[in-house]
Structures are given as C-alpha cells and as structure tokens.
C-alpha cells in the first residue's frame, strides 16, 4: 500500500501526538501511552529515513538524538525540576498530587515537557539517568521542522547554525529554555504569516494552535509569550480588521489550558501553603524607587554578547528590508517581553544580583534567537520577492 503525506501534515501529526501523549498520561491509560509512544517513534523513523526533506536537516536531528542519548543530565534545573518531575510522573499512579512534590521541584510550574517525556519512560517501564531526557528533546521536532520549511538551501544551513550558536547546550541538557525559544520563534513567524501573509491559512492556524498550547505550558515565560501573541491578534482584529473572528477565537482558545493551570496552581499554592512563589508586588514597588536596580537588570542583559549581536543585526536590516509589518510586529512583541522580564526581575523575592546571575542569560534566549532568525527570515523573504 502506498501512502504519502506532506510536510505540514507531518508537522501537525507530531504536534497532535505530543498533545495526545500528555492526555493519555493525565488519564493514566497505560495501553494508549505505549501505543502513542510507538506511533511517535515510528513517525520519527519515517521522518529520518523515508520522508523527503533536506538531508542535512535529517542528519542534524539524528545527531542531536544520538548526543542526547550519550549525555548525563548534570545541570541544576534539569535535575531538580524537569527530570525529577519526569521521574515523579513515571512512578506515580495519580499525578495530580502536586502538593506532595518537594518544594525545590517547583510543584506549581507548568509541566507539559516532563509529562510528555515520562510517556516514553512509561513505555520502557524502567528508569535510568540517560534515556528519560530524550522525551524533552523530541519536543523540538515539530517547531524545528516548521522553521526549517521556511528556509531553503543555504538559508536553512544558516538557520541551523544560528540555532546551535544561540541555543548550544540547551538542545541537549534537559532544560526547557531552549524549547521556549524555538516554540516562540515558531509562534512569531506564524503570527506574521496569519495576519499579513495569507498563504496556507488553515494549516498555519492549526499549527499555531498546537504550538501555542505547548509553548504556554512549558514554563510561565511561555504563557507570557503566548499572551503577547494573542494580544497582537486581538489588536489586529479590533483596529485593523486583518483577521476574522474565527481565527481570533481559535488563537484565544490556545491559551486557555495554561490559564486554567495558572489558576489551579495559585489555588494549590494557597490551600497547601506551598510557598512556591518567587515574586512579590511589594518588591516591585520597593525596587522601582531605586534606579540602580533597573540599571543592574539592563546591564546584565546587555552583557550577553549574543543578545547584543541579535539587536545589532535586527536593526541593521530593519530599514534595509521591505517587510515593515514583520519588523514592527517583531519589535513590538520583543520589546513588550523585555519590559515584562525587567518587571519580573524587579519583583523577585531573591537577591536581585543572584537571580540575574543564575537566570538572565537563559531567559533572554527567546529574544536573542528571534532577533537573529527573524532577520534571516526577512532577508530570505526579500530575496524570494525579487
């Protein structure tokens, strides 16, 4: 029997399988968990060995899988939060006992990545310190496939090289910040394509719907980024009538799961007094009075050379490319996110310098990657129009 699917269908299949795997885990339906994992692995084999897609991209994915399976997880957050949550979900029958999880694992954090990773361990039926991390890497597949479809020939190799340059070890070390960058970049490009560039509307809307659901449930930073893209859709619906109401409703629906989780996490935090909150409004008010705090945060961000390079490249090409809509959309979303990041740091319960030192270079990655890759995407679009 002969069957053939195109790239968009394959990307949507991966997204769908990720969501379905998580639902089967939540329902603790063991047979479906195993079937789903197997289908995911077969789809991956199909992608790597049979699907017609750029060979360098296939090798890139294959090598990253091998490297992931050849590394031990050592980074603090990966072990104490993400891999530990995966372990809890693997062993526990009832995964809803979040209030019983140790406080250092941050029970109220969103958990789609460890939940998905645990499906493969459940299928294997035993734990070790290497294999469970592979599920976190598998989450990269659909957005990477989507992004790679936006670049042809040398632009594709440039995209892969830039991704490695900005993300580096985050493709491998079991942390979530790299995923946030790649998923956000996908949402950003899709937001532009749906609002301004009306090709493949139906497919793009399905992909952004799944992409936003996963992004918003990776970490709270993801929730903020999805809310920002929703805000852009809302603005263009109200003031510029660029999209229809159906699209807007679907985009808004994609943020619902994370809002429900946010409300639930606030509830369990209060009811069980988990004290799992790193921020306070009183800190924000107190720190806003001192300009030095603001300078400290900005200086930390600007000391990241990759971030500076991203800003530089973006503004060099800002006026040289014809896609003003894309430039202004990107600049608006990234500026708003930057302001929100500054506000979040100002409201931290921890010592500000310590908090910046331990996380600033991680949380800035979505901005860095977006500045550089959107510039590349812009140049690519310009070339295609000529």
């Amino acid at each position: 029997m002969y069957f053939k699917i195109n790239l968009s269908q394959l990307i949507i299949s991966f997204y769908f399988l990720i969501i379905l795997s998580c639902i089967t885990m939540l329902l603790n339906f063991e047979l479906l968990i195993i079937i789903n994992s197997l289908v995911f692995l077969f789809t991956l084999i199909y992608l790597i060995f049979f699907f017609r897609i750029n060979i360098i991209f296939k090798i890139f994915i294959f090598l990253l899988i091998l490297i992931n399976l050849s590394t031990i997880t050592t980074s603090w957050d990966a072990r104490s939060i993400w891999l530990f949550k995966t372990k809890i979900f693997f062993y526990e029958e009832n995964i809803f006992n979040f209030h019983k999880h140790p406080q250092f694992s941050h029970p109220t954090y969103p958990f789609i990545a460890p939940l998905f990773a645990s499906t493969f361990v459940k299928s294997l039926k035993f734990w070790n310190e290497i294999f469970p991390k592979i599920g976190i890497f598998f989450l990269y597949l659909p957005p990477l496939m989507f992004l790679s479809s936006k670049f042809k020939k040398n632009y594709l190799y440039a995209f892969l090289s830039i991704s490695l340059f900005v993300q580096g070890k985050y493709f491998i070390n079991g942390e979530i910040d790299g995923l946030i960058s790649i998923y956000f970049l996908t949402s950003l490009i899709l937001t532009y394509e749906i609002i301004f560039n009306k090709h493949d509307q139906k497919k793009n809307i399905i992909i952004i719907f799944f992409n936003n659901i996963i992004l918003s449930l990776l970490k709270f930073e993801g929730t903020v980024l999805v809310l920002l893209t929703c805000f852009m859709f809302f603005i263009h619906f109200i003031f510029r009538k660029k999209i229809n109401s159906k699209t807007l409703v679907l985009i808004m629906l994609s943020v619902v799961p994370s809002i429900l989780w946010l409300l639930y996490s606030i509830k369990i935090n209060n009811v069980y007094q988990l004290n799992d909150s790193s921020f306070g409004l009183e800190n924000l008010i107190y720190r806003l009075n001192n300009f030095d705090n603001l300078m400290l945060i900005v200086s930390f961000f600007l000391s990241d050379e990759k971030f500076l390079l991203g800003i530089l490249l973006f503004f060099v090409f800002f006026f040289k490319t014809n896609n003003k809509d894309l430039n202004y959309l990107t600049l608006t979303i990234l500026s708003l996110y930057f302001i929100i990041l500054v506000m979040i740091y100002l409201s931290t319960n921890f010592d500000l310098s310590w908090h910046l030192q331990s996380s600033a270079n991680r949380v800035i990655k979505p901005l860095t990657l977006s500045f550089i890759v959107i510039t590349l995407y812009n140049i690519n679009l310009n070339k295609l129009k000529k």
Partner: protein, 125 residues
Amino acid sequence: MNKLIKFFLVISIVVQLFYIISNKVRFHPKYLLSSLKEDYIGDLDLPQETLEIKKIIQEKNIKVFNLSDKFKNDEFLYQRTIEFAYPSKFSKHSNIFFEIIDEINPGCEILSKNNYTQISKCILK
C-alpha cells in the same frame, strides 16, 4: 560561491556540535549503548552519601525516610538525595532519619552505621 557558503555553514554546524559535546555537556559514547539499561547512572557525580542511601533504601525496601538537619542545610546534598532516592519519599513526618556518619542529634537512637551515613530513629519535634 553558493557551494562554498554551504560548505562553511555545514562545517560551522559540525564544529559547534563538537564544541558543545566536548565543553558544555557530559558526553561519552559509552552512555549511548547503556541508555536502555535499567537503573544505569553512568559516571553521574552524586555525593557518596546519596549513593549509599539509595543502596540501603533498595536493600531494606524503605518507602519513606527523613533527613537530618545537616543534610537539609546542604542544598546540593539534600536535593540530589531526594531526587535520586525517588520513588522512596522524603517525609518530615517519618521518624527514620538518615544522618551523616558520626552525627549526633539529641533524641535520636542510632540503628545502624554505614560508610558515609547512619540510620537513626528519632523523636519527632
């Protein structure tokens, strides 16, 4: 020209991958072969106390345990022990305490001594 650019871009990908595996993560090809073995931990750097506690927990089938203040005050030791010992769970309500060897805590009776840790039965405060 296009082929030359392609060559340099592909080389940049390969060089970066090599840089990452040699400098940024704990990579070894032997892990790949063992990645599907049960309980495999490779050369994971865990405190001796943590490894010993896991071994005792498995041997004695301990489901719930507590940790002394000395453990709790060392964030690295505390977190690594709890996550590595899972599915055996840490509970502040358990009166079976793992203590660091030769630790003396009031209200605790030492049940057994090991190389790096000891097990005590303590009166809960």
